[in-house]
């Protein structure tokens, strides 16, 4: 088992964000983390990324408690793409992606030939090599999100955490991210956990679903498109009604009833 979350609770300023979350994740799985805004999805991702101090419960990665990892060692196992912020980063795309190599670099983080190769490969996988010499503050939101992804890919970690990777993107740029994630999954068998609001496409793109509501796990496991229960679970997570339908091509779609 790759990641084992054991009775994790997390509170911030006396406000309970996560409550007794337990979860087992195996290698190569792709998890969609869903729930209303404020349900604790981002906090859970941050806890797994080692960004928050865990006081109750524990997260174990490959049999080792996350709190006991040295910072650089954890960065070789887990990479993280935060929600897109509006910040202008003045780096060139290449230099930014190179920063993903930090956990492997020594004194002064001087890049080796191997680092350069890996950066090139990461750029190729994310369709960003065409503008690798441009500055990041000159990119569009869709391009920028792929550059952030490329930075995480350059970290070459078995686990990739994404916080709403496609939320602010148009269908075209969303598709580019999805394709990039498919290539990453194909080439490296990366285990992916993504916070997402793309409810309708979960069936096609993720192997497992974790539903959070007010910090508690409402559902976790494989997604069954043929079961009516699925729509009911969604109703419970979001407090709005969902139904499942089949398109002419036979593709199962879950969508919100209006």
């Amino acid at each position: 088992m790759l990641i084992k979350i054991d009775n994790l609770s997390f509170s911030y300023n006396q406000k309970q964000i996560l409550q007794n979350v337990s979860l087992n994740i195996n290698e190569g799985e792709q998890w969609a983390i869903i729930g209303k805004n404020g349900a604790g999805k981002s906090t859970l991702i941050k806890c797994i990324a080692g960004l928050e101090k865990i006081k109750q419960g524990q997260i174990v990665i490959w049999g080792k408690n996350i709190e006991t990892f040295a910072a650089k060692d954890l960065a070789k196992l887990i990479s993280y793409v935060p929600q897109v912020s509006g910040r202008n980063l003045p780096f060139t795309v290449f230099d930014y992606v190179m920063m993903g190599r930090f956990p492997y670099q020594g004194f002064m983080a001087l890049p080796t030939a191997l680092d350069k190769n890996i950066v090139q490969e990461s750029l190729r996988l994310t369709d960003t090599e065409d503008f690798s010499s441009r500055k990041m503050n000159m990119l569009s939101g869709g391009e920028l999100q792929r550059v952030f992804l490329a930075g995480a890919v350059a970290q070459r970690t078995p686990i990739l955490l994404l916080d709403e990777p496609t939320t602010f993107l148009d269908p075209f740029h969303r598709q580019l991210i999805i394709k990039a994630l498919e290539r990453i999954q194909r080439d490296f068998k990366t285990t992916i956990l993504a916070v997402t609001h793309e409810i309708s496409s979960i069936i096609d793109r993720y192997s497992n679903v974790l539903g959070l509501k007010e910090g508690e796990v409402v559902f976790s496991g494989k997604f069954n498109a043929d079961s009516d229960k699925t729509a009911i679970i969604y109703n419970r997570i979001f407090d709005v009604e969902f139904e499942i339908a089949e398109s002419k091509s036979g593709r199962k779609i879950i969508f919100q009833r209006i």
């Binding site: 080692g50 202008n88 003045p90 230099d95 920063m99 930090f102």
Partner: protein, 329 residues
């Protein structure tokens, strides 16, 4: 390409350090240096140490400005806006007021006061950021400005309490200047600045990461709070010793990193040396002018940096329209 630019800056720095001591109240020609013992004496015991001091002060302040800006992710962060300089000034004023006189290997009582003041201010801002848990740059900057005002008020209170002689001494010290400089002060400055610079150089790649945000930096394997502590320690060493010896020289820490970032890439491995060298040259030239403009009188160097620096800075802001291409965050 970048290495070439740094090399050019290095050569330019050496040239300027060699040329500047010849200028001043009167110009000393290299020939006089060989034959006129009075001029030789002025050159070696007054102008040369002052040249080194000016270069060191400029480069140190600029380097610290650059570090603060990356750490707080704000191009307005510098030793002054974060209250470090006013903390140091306040410490120095207190030692003048209470007549804490001392001379210990060229370290004066005022130096120790300034040093402790800088340390208290940085410690305060840092602890504030830890307690408030809001590491956003805006809060930090506001905290710095609050600290700055607090120390300024204490400083004014000191002046109010002190007699004419002390008060004048405080005011003169506050104007910043490089007047009396012997080699002992230069050596002390050199030691502190080298120590601080070694730590900063060691952490230069981390500065790139801090600029992307604490979370992302952590996920890349950086111990963010440890790195910040190291950097704050280094900047305190540098700013403390400079303010202690030269008084608060404003503006350098703000405009030089901006300038360097604008005309170089933002990779801190390149930006660090560039900022260091440009800052040194800038203050050295400013100091040389300050000695020449109304010679034999001297204008405090802080006055010169602001009078000439501010319009230049505004000119850059106004007339370089290619906003999208700026290396500013």
């Amino acid at each position: 390409m970048n290495n070439f630019k740094i090399l050019l800056l290095g050569i330019a720095s050496i040239l300027i350090i060699c040329v500047c001591p010849f200028f001043g109240m009167n110009v000393i020609s290299p020939l006089e240096l060989l034959h006129n013992s009075l001029q030789t004496n002025i050159f070696f015991s007054l102008r040369l140490p002052r040249t080194f001091a000016a270069f060191l002060a400029g480069s140190g302040l600029s380097l610290c400005g650059m570090v603060f800006q990356a750490m707080f992710r704000n191009p307005l962060a510098e030793p002054f806006t974060l209250g470090v300089a006013s903390g140091a000034s306040c410490g120095a004023a207190l030692t003048i007021l209470f007549g804490f006189e001392l001379n210990w290997f060229g370290i004066s009582g005022t130096s120790i006061g300034a040093f402790s003041g800088a340390f208290v201010a940085i410690f305060f801002v840092y602890e504030f950021s830890k307690v408030s848990k809001k590491s956003d740059s805006f809060t930090m900057l506001l905290a710095g400005i609050a600290v700055s005002f607090m120390f300024s008020s204490i400083l004014m209170f000191c002046q109010y309490l002190s007699n004419m002689r002390d008060s004048f001494q405080i005011v003169r010290w506050l104007m910043g200047g490089l007047e009396v400089f012997g080699y002992d002060s230069v050596i002390i400055m050199l030691i502190f600045i080298i120590l601080g610079a070694i730590i900063i150089v060691w952490k230069l790649p981390e500065l790139d990461h801090l600029l992307t945000g604490d979370d992302l930096a952590k996920s890349r394997g950086i111990s963010v709070s440890k790195t910040k502590a190291y950097l704050l320690f280094a900047t305190t060493l540098i700013v403390g010793i400079i303010v202690a010896n030269c008084g608060p020289i404003g503006f350098v820490g703000l405009i030089i990193p901006y300038f360097a970032r604008r005309y170089f890439v933002l990779n801190h491995r390149v930006l660090g040396p560039a900022t260091f060298l440009i800052g040194g040259m800038f203050l050295l030239i400013a100091d040389t002018f300050s000695r020449m403009i109304i010679a034999p009188a001297e204008i405090p160097v802080g006055v010169i940096t602001a009078i000439f620096g501010a319009p230049f800075f505004l000119w850059i802001l106004l007339f370089h329209k290619n906003q999208k291409d700026i290396n500013i965050f």
